[in-house]
Amino acid sequence: MSQDAFTQLVDAHYAPLYRFALSLARREADASDLVQQTFFVWAKKGHMLRDVARAKTWLFTTLYREFLRGNRRSQRLTSIEDLPADAQDTPAEVVDHVRRMDADKVIEKLQEIDEVFRTPLTLFYLEDLSYQETADALDVPVGTVMSRLSRGKAQLRAVLARGSAATTGQVVEFPHFKKKAGP
């Protein structure tokens, strides 16, 4: 890949990659490290990618794997059956609350979501990858992506509703998911 092509690749993707990294790593410096490392791996291995059209998915996948390598931890697993019946509904006041919030505050709220849900949810909101591409990037089935999006949104709504309720005096419960037995 020529220097010009590489520069175009960086310009096209480094900002959304940074936003994704920030949601994962939570600190600006660590997010920057992750993005730099991702392009470093591309500089070393990107020529091995046969289909250049898949570069975007490759970059998100690589960044996520780099993050996992540095953050080995047990993931909380929950069951879709335990999703509260009303967890899929968005109160109108929560929508208004989000619109009034600063971007940094929304990121902070997003970072309160369990990582297993936060990762696909961030990719969803970045709008760069479809749910199928997200499934490829995270190496999970499509149904799992949809499930995690559903539960991630439920958590995000609850976190945001708490902030909204803080100004209105409402009490909002955080959705509880029953844990599956760990491996």
Binding site: Q36, V41, G70, Q88, V95, A103, E127, S147, L149
Partner: protein
């Protein structure tokens, strides 16, 4: 398909309308058009998703990140031949593997934005390109001074810009600035990156020595009236302290 199933599927429908042609989502979208309750739910869901998406996409990367990426890739591609013997290549492969393992948060530091970025860049550069390479004998007066075990670096490296232009082993670009690199050996191998100061550099960019850990590597940054320095080694923070 009932409404709960449709909601589950439509949860993956991106707010920008990118997925309107997706056949899996199409059936659920059609159902939302026919079912008033589901349509209201989808409109509110889309309003919520659009609001969150707009906030997330409003976050801007740090101003120096793009330059750091491009500079890092450039030096990793075009290495001078004197830092590319076969064993260095093999070592680089091993170091790359270690890098993937070792990418974890380094010691939190507030050493100034430019200096922080330069320290990360230098660690990546050393990891990927020339770990172990020593070429101070090519670096004239400055290199000889650095190799002299009686000299302490905080006493002041004799490195004005003209001298660095003449003596440097290598010049790399970082954040739009020339950074002169010299590698030298005392009881361990050290890589010092020297950037002439600019008036725009913050006070913290030239503050007291700031140590950082980058996985298997350690760095220290400091500044004086002329330059900002970052030194990297795989011998640990104590080795850095001994020669400062």
């Amino acid at each position: 398909m009932n409404n709960d199933e449709a909601k589950f599927i439509l949860g993956a429908y991106r707010p920008g309308g990118h997925d309107s042609g997706d056949p899996v989502l199409a059936e659920a979208l059609e159902k939302a058009q026919r079912d008033p309750a589901l349509r209201v739910w989808l409109e509110r869901e889309q309003a919520f998703d659009t609001a969150v998406s707009a906030k997330l996409r409003a976050v801007q990367p740090p101003s120096g990140l793009r330059d750091a990426i491009l500079a890092g890739a450039k030096v990793s591609r075009s290495r001078p031949t004197w830092v590319r013997p076969l064993w260095v290549g093999l070592a680089a492969a091993i170091v790359l593997a270690l890098t993937l393992w070792s990418l974890r948060p380094y010691t939190s530091a507030d050493g100034g934005f430019f200096t922080d970025g330069l320290a990360r860049f230098a660690a990546l550069d050393v990891r990927g390109d020339h770990a172990g390479a020593v070429h101070a004998n090519r670096a004239g007066v400055v290199g000889a001074w650095l190799q002299d075990p009686t000299n302490r670096l905080l006493a002041g490296i004799p490195a004005d810009t003209a001298r660095l232009q003449a003596d440097r082993c290598r010049v790399v670009r970082f954040a739009g600035r020339d950074v002169f690199e010299i590698c030298f050996k005392r009881d361990a191998v050290f890589h010092v990156y020297i950037s002439p100061r600019r008036n725009s550099d913050s006070a913290s960019d030239t503050a007291a020595p700031m140590f950082r850990e980058h996985g298997t590597l350690a760095s220290v940054s400091w500044g004086d009236a002329r330059n900002i320095y970052v030194m990297v080694t795989d011998a640990g923070v104590d080795a850095l302290r001994r020669i400062l």
